[in-house]
């Protein structure tokens, strides 16, 4: 069954400044949806609003059912913020246990972690932490994964592996991705939105990205 995540009616202000006011976005299981926008355009805020960790006027629906905070309902979404979020004192083993994930499947894809099962998150490098976080959010059981700058801290080889993992997992869940490495995003996504002046625009091609002020002609 295909699940559909829809977002509209978002109105988010900081002080007198309106950050988001005309958002419509749709994401489906089996598809990867990209969200592009300039720095400060409100992409990260929008992902937080969708997950329910920022509260504001909005309508976020999965299969036509409205949810005020998706993150509170297990199995609906997982959210990767743009910063490291796993408590440093936890071991890799414990993180996999909490997310109910199989470590063997992880090391098949990322063999460099074979000796790191019992290590603390604090002892991993920035790129390794990011890989563990990414894997947890991508592979954990849920309908949707929201990925805010997933490719930060990763080498080109690791980005390639993560992209293939996302493509593999998209048969089970829907992905909403935002990143400044727009070639990677446009290369992998099925649908693309550009966020500009607080409004989302559906972009079909590069001309649309130029039209909405994201890319140069």
């Amino acid at each position: 069954m295909i699940h559909k995540l829809e977002v509209d009616g978002v109105r988010f202000q900081i002080g007198d400044k309106t950050i988001l006011s005309g958002v419509y976005l749709k994401c489906e299981t089996g598809k990867i949806t990209g969200l592009l926008g300039r720095n400060g355009s409100g992409k990260s805020c929008l992902l937080e609003i969708i997950s329910g960790t920022i509260t504001c006027e909005k309508s976020v629906r999965i299969d036509h059912i409205s949810y005020p905070a998706l993150f509170r309902i297990p199995g609906l979404i997982h959210f990767l913020p743009q910063y490291h979020f796993i408590p440093a004192f936890l071991s890799v083993r414990r993180v996999f246990q909490d997310f109910e994930l199989d470590f063997d499947s992880f090391i098949k894809r990322f063999p460099e972690f074979v000796t790191k099962y019992k290590e603390r998150i604090a002892d991993l490098s920035g790129g390794e932490k990011r890989l563990v976080e990414l894997y947890c959010v991508i592979a954990a059981k849920s309908y949707f994964a929201l990925l805010d700058e997933p490719f930060t801290h990763l080498s080109p080889v690791q980005i390639q592996k993560v992209v293939s993992l996302i493509e593999e997992k998209k048969s089970e869940k829907g992905f909403l991705i935002t990143d400044h490495l727009y070639r990677e995003v446009t290369g992998v996504c099925d649908d693309l939105y550009v966020l500009s002046d607080g409004v989302t625009h559906y972009a079909e091609n590069k001309q649309d990205m130029v039209k909405y002020g994201y890319a140069k002609a």
Binding site: S51, T53, A69, F71, R72, I73, P74, H78, F79, P81, Y83, H84, F85, I86, P87, F89, L90, R94, D98, F99, C136, V137, A140
Partner: protein
């Protein structure tokens, strides 16, 4: 999510400040042991204020880690309500035990 898993994850959150909180609880118990029941109000407010300070510092310094718990289905409110209830239960039990034995 199974209850045991929820408790384990809340326990992980509590681990982040348990040492400091339990230190203050032990200090309160010591004060109560030395000064008796008439000092209970001051001791209680001392515990409340130190818990407030812990809340402030965790919110300021470890805010990013809330995303870990939120990804596992636990809100900030849930984490704090359960851990503060647990922490104050330990505090009250200690005070009662000391009160009975002095």
């Amino acid at each position: 999510m199974p209850l045991a898993t929820t408790i384990r994850i809340i326990g992980t959150f509590y681990r982040g400040f348990a040492a400091v909180s339990l230190f203050f609880t032990a200090f309160c118990a010591l004060l109560f042991y030395r000064n008796g029941l008439h000092a209970f109000t001051e001791i209680f407010w001392f515990k409340v204020i130190t818990t407030g300070m812990i809340f402030y510092f965790i919110n300021r310094n470890q805010q990013k880690e809330y995303k870990y718990y939120q990804n596992l289905g636990l809100s900030k409110k849930m984490l704090w309500l359960t851990t503060i209830c647990f922490d104050f239960t330990i505090f009250i039990i200690l005070i009662i035990l000391i009160g009975k034995n002095t």
